[in-house]
Amino acid sequence: MKLLDVKVGEIVKVKNNRAQDYLKERFLALGLTSGAQVEVLRKGPKNNLTVYRIRGAMIALRSEESDLIEVY
């Protein structure tokens, strides 16, 4: 399953991320390593941005980005 498809309120774990180069490093830096717990907090206007709780911080990702993260 992709992080993009997870419903608001659910908590999932990261399997891996398919991002490349800089974005991949950024994901890892934010703590989206495999096994990391992610809570889906809220969708923003037009379902463009979604807020996630990652390692205790609130991070918003666009759908293009959350599409790259595999979760279980």
Binding site: A19, Y22, L23, K24, E25, R26, F27, L28, A29, L30, G31, T33, S34, G35, A36, L41, R42, K43, G44, P45, K46, N48, L49, V51, I54, R55, G56, A57, M58, I59, A60, L61, R62, E64, E65
Partner: protein
């Protein structure tokens, strides 16, 4: 790559060698964004380094000095970064300095309410140097959220000195200085064993390291940090409303309107008081000059030109700025700006601009030159250029007074409560028009000169924080109000003199000023303006604040500025010069959309290093301003 780790090292060593006296120690401040790093910096150095940055973002590394127990220290505030591996432009600065700078100690500032995420950087830096101090900041916020941290346990586990601090209140700052002293006086040399790792290309190794770092961070957090789940949800509850699909944008616009309303209402009385005093003093000065039998011409230049120009700028600009800036800074301090970025990101994405552009636009409200520098937070060169070129379409503080005065004069009729909100609504609408123009220009640029798709974007919504009202007022008055006012004054004095001279030197039976205005008249008329207005905008190139004073000076046949007693008297002068509602509207639109001031253009040249893009930043808004005014004027003629 062509560069060996060794050669990179030598090169970087040269760049990051901080020049210092022999008995000075260099201390670096590192940490995630939004950890209050700059507050620690400001507390230690007593220096304010806000200009060009918004809280939470140090775009360039700032330097300051402090003294402790007769030792001198140079403090380097590095840009906030999540990791030494990921390398955006500002993060690179931090990484390179940590790896190769000649510091004697690194203080890693971490957010007590988000320790798990912050520890990754601590682990990375501890691998590079043993001269590390962990400063767990915002401990006051953590207490408020019932988060408790077992400092001793963590200290034993990590084997580095740890402090719990609340830099905003000065808590723990003395202890921090003592720890720094202890570290720098310890003569052990730094070990640089693993620093080369950070410049190698092996992504897999990096991923492994990050993963194990985070697993360890989680383990530590579970062991040494106690949280209260109920309190943790406070920010989420606020965000449920503030960033909701339905209320997000209306709340944002209402807040903006409210700020403008408070600014206008609050500035009204002090403005009049200041103008009474300053213009009253003009009379006194005139009498003194007459008694001293000073030459009429010199008296005219000095008093009717320079002095009245200054009096106008001070009395009209100072009060609104002194109210607007603190309120805006308060919103920043609260952590609201990233929420704005969140609410409008879908619009920017559609315009193919960078999501952070919204933040650089917010900085543009204060000063467009600052907004342009702020564009450094955008990594992609394409999107950074778009943000730089369009920043001027956000009205800066120098352009607010014009809008406030004109909308009060022309669109608020009776003085009732409804009328008092009209200027606020006008400015809010103007801002919306500016944002709309920004989006359209961004889209068009993305389709033509700066082709491309939006780059990736991660936005952190930092926890809300109780703003420190005292500090906010202090910094926004000192850093912003005084700074902007000073710049306006520097420009207003010579502009006042030149305008007076142009209006009082006659060629034949017409003053030079009239000649120029007549020359510009046809163009002005086609746009629903007139020659004098265009002249005033051209004169306002060094600073937009002086457009209205120059215009009034030009209108008065004597060439000297009238006393700004009331909105009514201003309106009468303008009406006498053929103004209508359309003129007022178009002056406001032109002010919003026209060319950037000279300081902004100069900054754009410096930031882009390109004359071509500087020219684009000049010609694009100018074209829009002329086109929009021409269209409204034509429509007006069609209808009436």
């Amino acid at each position: 790559m062509g560069l060996t780790a060794e050669s990179v090292k030598v090169k970087l060593k040269e760049i990051y060698e901080i020049s210092k006296d022999e008995d000075q120690y260099v201390v670096a401040l590192a940490g995630n964004p939004n950890t209050g790093k700059s507050t620690v910096f400001n507390y230690l150095t007593g220096l304010n380094q806000h200009t060009g940055n918004w809280p939470g973002k140090t775009v360039v590394s700032a330097r300051g000095e402090f003294k402790h127990n007769s030792n001198d220290y140079i403090l380097v505030d590095l840009p906030g970064s999540y990791s030494l591996f990921s390398a955006s432009k500002d993060e690179e600065v931090a990484r390179d300095f940590i790896c190769y700078g000649n510091y004697d100690a690194v203080v890693v500032v971490a957010d007590a309410t988000c320790l798990e995420r912050n520890l990754n950087l601590v682990f990375q830096i501890s691998k590079i140097t043993n001269k590390v101090i962990l400063c767990i900041n915002l401990i006051d916020e953590a207490r408020r959220k019932n988060i408790s941290i077992d400092k001793e346990g963590l200290e034993k586990e990590l084997n580095i000195p740890i402090l719990l601090t609340a830099a905003r209140k000065g808590e723990g700052m003395k202890e921090l200085k003592e720890k720094i002293e202890k570290i720098v006086l310890n003569k052990d040399s730094r070990d640089e064993v693993e620093s080369t790792l950070y410049f190698q290309q092996d992504a897999e190794v990096r991923e492994e390291i990050t993963e194990s770092n985070y697993n360890y961070a989680k383990e530590l957090k579970e062991k040494y940090v106690k949280e209260d789940a109920k309190k943790l949800n406070r920010d989420k509850k606020i965000d449920d409303i503030v960033t909701s699909k339905i209320f997000g944008i209306p709340i944002m616009l209402s807040l903006l309107g409210l700020i403008f309303w408070i600014t206008i209402q609050g500035a009204n009385y002090p403005s009049q008081l200041l103008s009474n005093i300053l213009f009253g003093f003009h009379e006194t000065l005139t009498n003194i000059f007459i008694r001293l039998q000073v030459n009429d011409f010199i008296r005219g230049v000095l008093l009717d030109g320079v002095y009245l120009g200054l009096a106008w700028v001070v009395s009209v600009m100072l009060p609104p700025m002194a109210i607007f800036f603190p309120m805006f800074t308060l919103l920043e301090d609260l952590g609201y700006l990233p929420r704005i970025a969140f609410n409008v990101d879908h619009l920017f994405k559609k315009a193919r601009a960078h999501g952070k552009m919204c933040l650089t636009m917010c900085m543009g409200f204060g000063c467009n030159a600052a907004g342009v520098i702020g564009c450094r937070i955008i990594d992609s060169p394409r999107e950074r250029l778009i943000a730089i070129i369009t920043n001027n379409l956000v009205p800066c503080n120098g352009r607010f007074p014009l809008t406030i005065v004109l909308s009060a004069a022309f669109f608020a009729y009776s003085g009732s409560f409804i009328d008092s909100i009209i200027p606020a609504i006008s400015i809010t609408l103007l801002v919306i028009i500016g944002v709309f123009a920004t989006l359209v220009v961004s889209y068009l640029l993305s389709k033509t000169l700066l082709k491309g798709v939006p780059s990736t974007f991660t936005l952190e919504l930092p926890p809300y924080r109780a703003p420190q009202v005292g500090r906010v007022i202090y910094t926004s008055i000192i850093d912003r109000t005084i700074f902007v006012l000073f710049r306006a004054i520097v420009v207003a004095a010579p502009a006042g003199a030149v305008t007076w001279l142009l209006a009082n030197i006659y060629l034949g039976d017409m003053s030079i000023l009239i000649y120029i205005a007549n020359f510009l008249e046809p163009l002005g008329k086609a746009m629903g303006l007139d020659g004098f207005i265009l002249l005033a905008f051209i004169a306002g190139f060094p600073a937009n604040e002086i457009v209205i004073p120059v215009l009034l000076m030009a209108y008065m046949s004597t060439g000297s500025l009238i006393d700004f007693e009331s909105v009514e008297s201003l309106k009468n002068v303008l009406l006498a010069n053929g103004w209508t509602g359309l003129t007022a509207l178009n002056v406001m639109l032109f002010s919003l959309l026209h060319w950037p001031c000279s300081t902004t253009l100069w900054t754009i040249k410096k930031e882009t290093g390109s004359l071509k893009w500087t020219f684009a930043a000049f010609i694009i808004p100018t074209t829009i301003a002329f086109a929009v005014c021409f269209i409204t004027a034509s429509l007006y003629k069609l209808i009436f």
